[in-house]
C-alpha cells in the first residue's frame, strides 16, 4: 500500500475543468497550500469550490480567484477578499452561502453515504427556501442533502503511506469531513512518517479515505488576525 505521490502536481492528475472540489481549512488555518499552488499551475478553469471560506486576496483560494479559475463558491463566510467581492458583485462568480454547521454535516454525509438529513439551521430563513421542512418533537427542521466532490484537497500535520492522517490543533476544522467526501482525496502533510509511527488510536483520518498523499515543503501558514497580549 503506497499512496505517496512525488509532488502536488502529480497529486492532481485527472483534475479537469469544471470539476467540483472540496478544499479544507478555516480562514487560512489548515488550508492545502501546496495543492492550491498546483491548481494555479495546472490552470484548470470553471471550478466549483466547496470551502468554508475563500481565502484572502493573495493567499489561499484567493489565488484561484485572481486567476479566474473558480466559477462557483460554496461557503459559509467569504469576507476579507476584495477580488472576491468584485467578481461576486459583477456576477462573474456564483456564490452559495450555507450555514457553517450544515456545510460541515453535508460534507460528512457525502462521505458517510447519508444522502439527506434534517437540521434546524436556517429554518424560517432564505436558506430554507424551496427545501422540505418538517416538525420533530415540536421543533422545525430543514432537509439538507449531502455534498460530494470530484477531488477533495486536505492538509494534515503528519501522514503515512497508507493515507492515515493526524491534524494539529484547529488546522483540523473541515479537513476530516472533506477527506471523506472526495472521489479522489489528496492529502498534503508537513511530515511523512513510516506506517506504525502514528498510534492507531490517535489517527484522525483513517487512510481508507485518502487516495494520494505527499509531503509539502516550506509551509507559509499565514496568520490572518495576529492577536496577542503583553506579558505583565
Amino acid at each position: 500500500m503506497n499512496k505517496i505521490v512525488e509532488s502536488a502536481d502529480a497529486a492532481l492528475d485527472g483534475l479537469q475543468d469544471g470539476m467540483t472540489l472540496m478544499v479544507g481549512g478555516f480562514g487560512l488555518c489548515g488550508i492545502p497550500e501546496k495543492s492550491i499552488a498546483a491548481l494555479v499551475r495546472r490552470g484548470v478553469k470553471g471550478l466549483t469550490c466547496i470551502s468554508n471560506n475563500a481565502g484572502v486576496d493573495d493567499f489561499g483560494l484567493g489565488l484561484l480567484l485572481q486567476t479566474r479559475q473558480i466559477k462557483k463558491m460554496i461557503s459559509s463566510y467569504v469576507g476579507e477578499n476584495a477580488e472576491f467581492e468584485r467578481q461576486m458583485l459583477s456576477g462573474e462568480l456564483q456564490v452559495d452561502l450555507i450555514p457553517q454547521g450544515t456545510l460541515a454535516e453535508r460534507c460528512r454525509a457525502g462521505g458517510a453515504g447519508i444522502p439527506a438529513f434534517f437540521t434546524p439551521a436556517g429554518y424560517g430563513t432564505e436558506v430554507a427556501e424551496g427545501k422540505e421542512t418538517r416538525e420533530f418533537n415540536g421543533k422545525m427542521y430543514v432537509l439538507e442533502d449531502w455534498l460530494r466532490a470530484d477531488f477533495a484537497l486536505v492538509k494534515a500535520w503528519k501522514g503515512d503511506r497508507f493515507g492515515n492522517l493526524v491534524y494539529k490543533r484547529t488546522a483540523r476544522n473541515f479537513n476530516p469531513m472533506m477527506a471523506m467526501a472526495g472521489k479522489v482525496t489528496v492529502a498534503e502533510v508537513e511530515e511523512l512518517v513510516e506506517p506504525g509511527e502514528l498510534d492507531p488510536d490517535e489517527i484522525h483520518t483513517p487512510g481508507i479515505f485518502v487516495n494520494r498523499i505527499f509531503q509539502g515543503k516550506g509551509y507559509e501558514k499565514r496568520i490572518e488576525q495576529r492577536t496577542t497580549r503583553k506579558r505583565n
Partner: protein
C-alpha cells in the same frame, strides 16, 4: 446613562453559571470572557473546533494552527480539546453548549433575529450564526438598542433577512435587559439613570413593563 460596551459585557457575565459551556460571538460578546466571576468555571467553545479556549497568546507565541472562529490567534487552557467542524456543530445543534451570546442588527418581540445580510451590500455569509441561533436553548443577544440613525433595533418585525425565527430568549442592550415573552420584550432592568419612558420611546416592538423595574447594579 446608556451602558458602555464593557458594561453590557459585564451585565451578560452575570447570566453565567458555574460549569457552563459558552459560545461567544464576534464583537461585544467576546468581551464577556473578561468578566467571568472569580472562582467560576466556564468553558468557552469556538465553533472552528475548540473547547477550553484561553486568552490571546503572548507576543511571539502565536501559533498559526491555533485560531478561534474570528480567525484570531488564541491559546488553550488545561483540559481543552480540539475537534473537527462536524463535531463542533454536533455540540451546538445537540444543545450541549449551554449559552450562546451573539450580536444582532435586529431582534423582534417574538425572538426572531437578523444579523447576517443587508440587501444591496456585500454579503459575507452567515458563518455559524444560523446553526447557533436555531439550536441553542439559551441565546442572549447583545447589541445597541438603536442604530446609528437612532432607529430602534427592537422591532415588531425584522426588515432584514432573518437568521433565525423565535429563538432569542434575552436581549441586553445599552439601555436595558429584556426577556422575550409571549407578550413581547419584557423590561427586566434599566441602565442606571434611564427612565422607563426613555426606553419605551426607543423600542418599536411590544414592550412589557412591570410595576417596579429595577435599575441595573453593575
Amino acid at each position: 446613562m446608556a451602558l458602555t460596551k464593557e458594561q453590557m459585557a459585564q451585565r451578560i457575565a452575570r447570566e453565567l453559571k458555574d460549569g457552563y459551556y459558552v459560545n461567544l460571538g464576534i464583537g461585544i460578546p467576546t468581551l464577556v470572557a473578561n468578566y467571568v466571576p472569580e472562582g467560576m468555571n466556564i468553558v468557552f467553545q469556538s465553533e472552528n473546533g475548540i473547547l477550553g479556549m484561553g486568552p490571546f497568546p503572548y507576543d511571539g507565541e502565536e501559533d498559526a494552527d491555533l485560531i478561534n472562529a474570528g480567525k484570531q490567534t488564541v491559546t488553550l487552557l488545561p483540559g481543552s480539546s480540539i475537534f473537527d467542524s462536524s463535531t463542533s456543530f454536533a455540540m451546538i445543534r445537540g444543545q450541549h453548549v449551554q449559552l450562546t451570546v451573539l450580536g444582532a442588527m435586529e431582534v423582534t418581540d417574538t425572538g426572531d433575529i437578523a444579523n447576517w445580510k443587508i440587501p444591496g451590500k456585500m454579503v459575507k455569509g452567515m458563518g455559524g450564526a444560523m446553526d447557533l441561533v436555531a439550536s441553542a436553548e439559551n441565546i442572549i443577544v447583545c447589541m445597541m438598542h438603536a442604530n446609528k440613525a437612532g432607529e430602534s433595533k427592537l422591532l415588531k418585525k425584522c426588515s432584514l433577512p432573518l437568521t433565525g425565527v423565535k429563538c432569542v430568549k434575552k436581549v441586553v442592550t445599552d439601555l436595558g435587559v429584556f426577556d422575550i415573552t409571549p407578550e413581547g420584550f419584557k423590561l427586566l432592568e434599566r441602565a442606571p439613570g434611564l427612565s422607563v419612558e426613555e426606553i419605551k420611546a426607543k423600542t418599536e416592538g411590544r414592550l412589557v413593563v412591570g410595576s417596579d423595574v429595577a435599575e441595573m447594579i453593575l
